[in-house]
């Protein structure tokens, strides 16, 4: 669907008629919404994936008179089968916030001045050229996100890596699922989960690792509850560092000390081996054992470098290694009783029970994120509970296209759409498809996200283009990176829909078209690619992010690589992109099919979606009809010997509390969208700090008292919540990060997993003072 200028003007007229109609009938009061003069019969329903989290629910958006007016769950979408969460149901309201950017802005004498978008794009191109000429190609960078539609990320990668020749391409998904990627790569050799959401209907036991699904993946959570309700024996076990809504719904909830999940996972494996619950046949045929480096550091210093090295070992060495993790020892580290650890091991070990493990940020935002991902895979590999319906170690994502755009397109410094920049074969393939000389693609990765912002602060990067993300709220140790971005000589371009702390530091703001205002694709947590049509007109001069990139690339002389026409470029990009994945291990569905269906899972081979990878019964890429972990050269999955190591910073006498950060159901990430949705803002208008009742008593604070939370890096003053929605144990506080008025990331620490380079937002030391 294309929308012409005439359509747009007509829709504007219709809008004003609607408002006029409303003022003409003041007698009718609808407190809920302003009614247009259109009746509900005028609604046209069209499918789209939801704009928010990585679940990838199918929505039906109702359009009436060129405006989105209603939402239903898409009953044809197997993800959510017609049910959404409150964000999904109200998602279309995000299009109509009154402070939408409808024109470009350029900073002149410190003030943002409205500027025609073509002129703003000229300026962006000339500043990029200038930086490249003066300080080299690696002084410019693009920072995108898992909310990039697939064509956005693909175009950015082709433009920066293929045409300009810099690997300064990163995405906020580095802060979100990089450990999941390295976890998958180190264990299986290929990224992304092997299972699918049908596991939820088939499992007998669910174990959630540091994962508040009731709020973060509500649709999957309620699908889990429906399974439990329909069968009397299903159990949900919540392993967590803080009591949440998910804990309340779970059959059992075990609170563990931050970072000690490493010890618990190893202790579970110890028990499985001790009680002969190992699936010997599976392990002997499909598993090999590896030992990596230890004492690997935390990355808090600039220019930190680390490279892991796997050393092959045998089962006996693994058994020996696990002797340090008896349930009794793990109890001392974790605070979870040995009895409960044995109970968990018995659930995983019972050959009659199908077990699915879920995790998201608790395991990924972890200074040993790769390790804990490996360790949970170890449990499933020891018991052979993998790649069959209901048996699934399942890493969920937080953004609608973290998988689609970041993991699959590879918008990270070391990645190409297929393979890594370090490999000649991958560079050759990319150069061929992109129509650029192979020498264009730099074989050396540059900066991962944290280091990229450090380089911006140090001045090695002086031009950064930020699209669809809000790093001036989300970067850990935020103050350093905000000050860095504001330094003289830095030029920041921000493609955004609403004013945010990031657009506040911009030199150029480009107004973006959002979600159903443009055509695009997302890729969800279960390898499902989902197409959305343009359903409503773009406001003002707003422009699709892909088109912004193409416009600037052409201005820099890359017309040949970006020849596409405005009415078909999304389809053309898709057709070019899927050439990268044309093997049975990763084949994507054709454009036409994606338009028709509510999402299609890859590998899409011989007209069929692959529900479970690595199992020949379901996956045609396997050698025979049994398990085949073809991602590794030995066709085996690797069990890693990963020890417990303490976090980068722990509470001490001066800073006696753990600080944990995260989200709430109503708000998505930094709230730049959900806070403009009236019903969501009115439910959770501001952030707060959850404090345990006993700690509150000691501090002498009650609900809504103000406390100052300070760390070695910064402080924030906010209201106290005691016995609220979540309840941290004694010695921990929790702060939702959505509220730009309380920048909790000025307090957090920029320590990261040395393998994945993903920061840990869940653990640092703070002190509290009553204000």
């Amino acid at each position: 669907m294309t929308i012409t200028r005439r359509d747009f003007i007509r829709s504007m007229a219709l809008d004003s008629a609607a408002v006029a109609a409303f003022t003409m009938f003041p007698g009718i009061s609808f407190a809920g919404w302003k009614p247009t003069d259109l009746s509900s019969d005028s609604i046209q329903w069209s499918k789209t994936p939801c704009r928010f989290c990585g679940t990838g629910c199918g929505l039906l958006v109702g359009v009436s008179g060129k405006r989105a007016v209603a939402v239903k769950g898409d009953p044809n979408c197997s993800v959510n089968k017609g049910l959404c969460c409150v964000k999904g149901y109200h998602s279309v309201q995000v299009l109509y916030g009154r402070d939408r950017f409808k024109t470009a802005y350029v900073r002149k004498n410190g003030k943002m001045v409205p500027t025609p978008i073509e002129k703003a794009l000229d300026l962006v191109a000339s500043r990029m050229k200038e930086s490249i000429e003066k300080t080299g190609k690696d002084s410019i960078a693009i920072y995108g996100s898992g909310q990039w539609s697939i064509p956005d990320g693909y175009t950015a990668s082709k433009f920066f890596k293929g045409c300009i020749g810099t690997n300064n391409v990163e995405a906020n998904a580095r802060l979100c699922m990089a450990s999941a990627v390295t976890g998958c790569l180190t264990t299986f050799g290929l990224d992304e989960p092997m299972g699918c959401y049908e596991d939820i209907d088939n499992a007998d036991v669910f174990i959630t690792w540091g994962n508040n699904m009731a709020e973060m993946h509500p649709v999957l959570f309620s699908r889990m509850l429906a399974n439990r309700k329909s069968k009397t024996h299903v159990r949900i076990i919540d392993l967590t560092t803080r009591s949440t809504r998910s804990s309340q719904a779970a059959d059992k909830s075990f609170i563990f000390n931050p970072q000690s999940d490493l010890a618990i996972a190893n202790a579970i494996c110890y028990e499985i081996i001790k009680n002969n619950w190992v699936n010997q046949d599976f392990v002997s045929k499909h598993v090999s054992f590896y030992k990596g480096k230890t004492h690997i550091g935390y990355g808090t210093e600039d220019h930190f470098k680390f490279k892991d090295k796997g050393e092959a070992v045998d089962f006996n060495a693994y058994k020996e290694f696990l002797k340090d993790y008896t349930p009794e020892i793990a109890e001392k580290i974790s605070g979870v009783s040995a009895e409960n650890i044995k109970y968990l091991a018995a659930l995983y070990g019972d050959p009659e029970k199908k077990v699915t493990s879920f995790w998201t940020m608790g395991m990924n935002q972890h200074t040993r994120g790769t390790w804990i991902n490996n360790l949970v895979y170890n449990i499933h590999l020891l018991t052979g509970k993998i790649s069959t319906p209901g048996n699934s170690p399942f890493s969920l994502t937080g953004q609608p296209s973290a998988c689609g755009t970041v993991r699959e397109v590879g918008t990270l410094t070391h990645k190409l759409p297929h393979g890594v920049v370090m490999k000649e074969k991958a560079r050759k393939l990319a150069a061929k498809i992109w129509g650029v000389p192979e020498s264009n693609i730099d074989p050396k990765p540059t900066y991962h996200t944290v280091e990229m912002f450090r380089a911006l602060d140090r001045g090695e990067i002086n031009f950064m283009w930020i699209q669809v993300t809000n790093p001036m709220v989300t970067m850990p140790n935020l103050r350093r990176y905000r000050n860095g971005a504001k330094k003289d000589g830095r030029f920041i371009v921000v493609s955004e829909i609403y004013p945010t702390p990031t657009s506040d530091v911009a030199d150029v703001i480009l107004p973006s078209a959002l979600w159903v205002e443009r055509e695009g694709f997302f890729g969800n947590s279960e390898r499902r690619t989902q197409h959305n049509e343009q359903l409503v007109p773009k406001p003002g001069e707003a422009m699709c992010n892909t088109w912004q990139l193409i416009q600037v690339a052409r201005r820099m002389g890359f017309e040949k690589q970006f020849p596409w026409k405005e009415d078909s470029y999304i389809e053309d990009i898709w057709n070019e992109y899927i050439k990268f994945h044309d093997t049975p291990k990763h084949r994507m569905a054709p454009y036409k099919l994606l338009r028709e269906r509510s999402g299609v899972q890859w590998p899409f081979v011989n007209g069929k979606e692959t529900r479970w990878r690595y199992n020949g019964k379901y996956d045609p890429a396997c050698r025979d009809d049994t398990w085949d972990f073809y991602g590794k050269p030995d066709h085996k999955a690797w069990i890693w010997l990963r020890p417990y190591e303490p976090p980068a910073e722990s509470p001490d006498r001066e800073y006696p509390f753990w600080l944990n950060t995260g989200r709430v159901l109503e708000h998505w990430h930094t709230g730049s969208m959900t806070r403009r949705i009236p019903i969501l803002h009115r439910a959770v208008p501001e952030s707060y700090v959850e404090i345990n009742q006993e700690d509150a008593k000691t501090l002498g604070v009650v609900n809504k008292s103000l406390v100052k939370i300070s760390s070695r890096r910064g402080s924030v003053v906010m209201k106290v919540s005691i016995n609220g929605r979540g309840n941290p144990p004694k010695g921990m506080v929790f702060v939702p990060f959505f509220d730009e008025s309380y920048l909790i990331n000025e307090v957090t620490l920029d320590a990261f997993c040395p393998i994945s380079k993903q920061p840990d937002y869940k653990k640092c030391a703070v002190k509290l003072e009553k204000v």
Partner: protein, 225 residues
């Protein structure tokens, strides 16, 4: 003859009344011997249409007492009903107080599954049409403020008109989408309902014998191109 006839008539009427009361009880017992299994079947139903869920709907119907069905002690107006929503069919927000920790499990359903009078709120509880979904606060949230972060220019369509019968006196079509609102009696019957949409003849039970959803506005055409 006349008197005799009346007597037989009375007896027959009594028999009918007893049957009407006894039958649902018998059916009810047959259906709900194993509630879990019955629910399992409903929850597993892939298709959400009436043809597959009707058994559950009749189950709810049978479980509702005649007295409750005819109850009429609500002050809920349609305006109030829509004031809790942002477009026709959006999940309403929670208009009453509740402890923040609650709502991940079955607490909401203890009132909203079957309805009844709530002393604390001095009113009858509205009944949810989709009690099979138990993670209530996934979609229904509580407002704690009236302020906004930023203004929003949201508008939506008019709510559907009531009583649009095709012929004078004919049963009106179903004015809303049926997804998650298949269970007619939850919202259209009983003392907790909104007055203008309360039905006058709840005892008939098989609502969709007369009231049909409108799947399309288009008319029949032969061999549509």
């Amino acid at each position: 003859m006349g008197k005799q006839g009346q007597k037989i008539g009375k007896l027959f009427f009594l028999f009918v009344v007893i049957s009407v009361i006894a039958l649902p009880v018998i059916i009810l017992q047959a259906f709900f011997v194993n509630t879990d299994n019955a629910l399992a079947k409903v929850n597993k139903a892939e298709t959400a249409d009436f043809d597959h869920k009707a058994k559950q709907l009749f189950g709810t119907y049978n479980g509702t007492t005649p007295a409750y069905m005819e109850g009429n002690s609500t002050d809920r107006t349609l305006d109030y009903y829509y004031s809790l929503r942002v477009y026709p069919g959006s999940p309403p927000f929670i208009p009453h107080d509740l402890a923040d920790g609650k709502g991940a499990g079955y607490e909401c359903l203890s009132c909203h599954e079957r309805g009844g009078f709530v002393q604390a709120m001095n009113r009858f509880t509205p009944v949810t049409p989709h009690p099979q979904n138990t993670s209530c606060r996934q979609c229904h949230i509580k407002m704690v403020t009236k302020t906004l972060f930023k203004e929003n220019d949201w508008v939506s369509v008019r709510p559907p008109k009531l009583g649009r019968s095709a012929l004078p006196g004919a049963p009106p079509p179903i004015a809303h989408a049926l997804q998650m609102r298949e269970n007619c009696i939850a919202c259209h019957v009983g003392p907790g309902t909104v007055v203008p949409i309360r039905v006058e003849h709840p005892m008939r039970g098989n609502c969709r014998q007369c009231h049909l959803p409108e799947e399309t506005k288009a008319l029949f055409t032969r061999n549509p191109k």
